[in-house]
């Protein structure tokens, strides 16, 4: 299958390893990945902050950049969900990575190996907007050597929320402190999710606390193989 990669602005500039991992997983499964170079940002930040006109311009740019591509994938459930909500014509064309793998390609075992204790944080948009369901869990359970442990109050928000993390920094911090306490209590050495934005929040707090737990995107774990 020929898949167009929607990298997202954060994925392009801050967490490029997530995009590289997404490419690695899809190519390992025999798919062709293309990168439409006109893409920049989908406009979600503007939309969620009340800047509709700017969001509309960026959304239009997104549609143009991906015009003609039949299948689009992104390692960000939040951007995928938002774009699908704003542009219903993207339904059936635009997928979050775990959705594409499990739902469209019917794969749960991607040949990954990651012998660590891992906890999964279901991000709010993946749960309630993009509705990725059980797909990430199914993929993680099929990873060689990986021990998936439970997260207390897993459906509770990490407190990122885009500009919420800045505008309401105190409340956002109170939320991420609780999330990190649950992650540490799970005994995992790695926390994973399908949104780099939430992982910046969680990872940023874990790092500040010196908690010794690493934040990794699901794609990074799926890209790991026994041969390294």
């Amino acid at each position: 299958m020929r898949v167009a990669l929607f990298i997202t602005c954060i994925g392009d500039t801050v967490t490029p390893e997530v995009g590289r991992s997404t490419v690695a997983v899809l190519e390992r499964l025999g798919h062709e990945v293309v990168f439409p170079a006109q893409q920049t940002c989908c406009g979600q930040m503007h939309l969620n902050s009340g800047y509709r006109a700017e969001a509309g311009r960026l959304g239009a740019r997104f549609l143009e950049a991906f015009d003609g591509y039949e299948v689009i994938v992104s390692p960000s459930s939040s951007c995928v969900g938002t774009m699908r909500e704003c542009y219903p014509q993207l339904h059936g064309r635009l997928f979050e990575l775990s959705e594409l793998l499990v739902g469209e390609l019917g794969v749960t075992d991607v040949g990954a190996s990651f012998p660590h204790r891992v906890v999964y944080h279901p991000t709010c948009h993946s749960l309630r907007v993009t509705n990725v369901g059980e797909a990430p869990y199914a993929l993680l359970r099929a990873v060689g050597g990986l021990e998936l442990v439970e997260l207390e109050a897993e459906r509770e928000c990490c407190g990122f929320g885009g500009t919420f993390a800045l505008k309401n920094a105190d409340t956002s911090t109170a939320m991420v402190i609780d999330k990190c306490a649950a992650i540490v209590a799970s005994g995992a050495s790695v926390v994973t999710a399908v949104d780099s934005s939430c992982l910046l929040q969680i990872g940023g707090r874990l790092s500040r606390e010196g908690a010794g737990v690493r934040a990794m995107h699901l794609a990074e774990i799926l890209a790991q193989t026994a041969s390294g």
Partner: protein, 474 residues
């Protein structure tokens, strides 16, 4: 929101901004502990009783559809209701705003030379600042709901739609009762506290000559008014005093009596996590020899028709005040209700208050949410709260965003709208961040970005962007 107006949030002026109020609340360890315990307890109870109903989603859809129909034909339902109430011997008053509604209550009290009224817990009367208005007119309003009584005795105001004193624990309540209505030997045993309030209130019920209530629902075709409650104080108020005045927000109508069937399932399960609430009082006009012999209904607009005019925002008027959205909200469950500065706190308050009083008077409330969507998931009438939050955020920005923010957002929009600009901005950012990076992390940023780094490390822009890697790989 009791007391004579001090510290109240009667919704007539601008609200204080949310972020600093939230910071203060978050610093109160006792409040945090009380809130976490209370919201999680109710949340769990709700989940259990909702899971019992196989047709819960159909009920939600029915609730939504009935409310949407009421709003679409509100003019005719209101006239129908007025006619039915009048035919049953009641009096109907139309109040365009809070002052008009308060005046009706005061006029009725004066006509009967009453200087004390008993009250059923009512958010709508809190919204219009009724107690303070009555007090100013020489009439004392006694709150008879246990939690409302606690707050009134202490000059405090409600922080939760359903459990107004959720921010208080029983030791605090014992100390308050010892100072006010109970003798000094009362313990913090909930039974003793309840007994103390019961003795105090029983005398009020038996001597009151006038009562004031809100309403959960009102039936257009019969003129019936419905109040649901847990303590029986509402039943006392609506049956013992000879005069009863009900303040009814115009959005509270349902078309027919049988529509109550849907809401009397949705409401108790969503709010208290009970299959059925202990007391459901229904009355239609006056019945000679039984209950109040004089009955008034005040139909309150106070901004509701303005909300109704907004196609996206009007769904906030579906709200049946169950408070399920408060209990699941990760923001509310940490900050509590006072941070919202409004009678209606939590997610529903964040969309209702700015619409009722004007976005310019509560511009920070629509931003008091991480958009996690937990509220929408539990709402028994399917109010898409995140959708309305975004709608109101756009209005807040239009009505006057901070100039610095607008500049930054416009700049970001411009940069993202060209791939060369975008690449150039990333290169510039890499240079700019260089002196800030310590061991691969940014731990301190200048304002306003320091609000991130005060509590969290930040990953810097990568030395090689994905697109650069992609180009190199080709």
């Amino acid at each position: 929101m009791s007391g004579a107006g001090e510290g109240t949030a009667a919704m007539s002026e601008s609200m204080p901004p949310f972020p600093p109020a939230a910071r203060e609340a978050l610093g109160d360890a006792q409040l945090r502990a009380n809130l976490a315990r209370a919201t999680h307890t109710i949340r769990d109870k709700r989940d259990r009783v909702v899971a019992e109903l196989p047709d819960w989603e159909e009920l939600r859809e029915a609730g939504r559809a009935i409310k949407a129909d009421v709003l679409a034909h509100l003019d005719s339902y209101l006239l129908q209701f007025e006619q039915a109430v009048t035919a049953a011997g009641g009096h109907v008053h139309w109040a365009p705003d809070a002052a008009a509604a308060n005046q009706v209550v005061l006029d009725v009290a004066r006509a009967h030379q009453v200087d004390e009224v008993v009250k059923v817990k009512s958010l709508t009367t809190d919204e219009i600042g009724l107690n303070a208005a009555l007090e100013a007119g020489g009439v004392h309003a006694v709150e008879t709901d246990f939690a409302e009584l606690i707050l009134q005795l202490d000059g405090d105001w409600s922080s939760h739609i359903l459990v107004p004193a959720i921010h208080r624990n029983r030791t605090e309540i014992r100390d308050l009762f010892r100072r006010t209505i109970a003798d000094p030997s009362v313990s913090d045993d909930p039974r003793e506290l309840a007994e103390a309030s019961r003795r105090y209130l029983r005398e009020r019920f038996l001597t009151a000559r006038m009562a004031v209530s809100g309403a959960n629902f009102a039936v257009a075709d019969t003129g019936t008014v419905c109040v649901v409650e847990s303590e029986g104080n509402g039943r006392m108020c609506t049956t013992l005093p000879p005069v009863l005045v009900t303040i009814l927000g115009i959005e509270k109508l349902v078309p027919t009596f049988s529509d109550l069937e849907v809401f009397l399932q949705l409401l108790p399960r969503s709010s208290t996590g009970e299959r059925m609430n202990p007391y459901t009082s229904l009355w239609t006009g006056v019945t000679p020899g039984d209950g109040p012999q004089e009955f008034h209904v005040v139909l309150l607009d106070a901004g509701r028709t303005r909300v109704l005019a907004d196609e996206v925002g009007r769904q906030a008027l579906h709200c049946i005040r169950c408070s399920a959205c408060l209990n699941v909200c990760p923001v509310y469950s940490r900050t509590g209700g006072h941070a919202y500065g409004s009678v209606y706190p939590g997610p529903i308050g964040a969309i209702l208050t700015p619409q009722l009083i004007g976005i310019e008077n509560a511009p920070t409330l629509p931003f008091a949410s991480s958009l996690c969507g937990a509220c929408y998931e539990v709402c028994p009438v399917m109010i898409n709260i995140p959708e309305v939050l975004l709608h109101l955020r756009a209005k807040a920005v239009e009505s006057g965003a901070k100039p610095g923010e607008r500049l930054a957002m416009n700049a970001a929009g411009w940069i993202f709208n060209g791939r060369r600009r975008f690449a150039a901005a990333v290169r510039l950012g890499r240079l700019g961040q260089r002196p800030l990076i310590r061991r691969g992390r940014i731990v301190r940023l200048p304002p306003p970005l320091d609000s991130w780094t005060r509590s969290r490390d930040l990953r810097p822009l990568s030395g090689e962007s994905f697109r650069d890697w992609w180009a190199r790989r080709r």
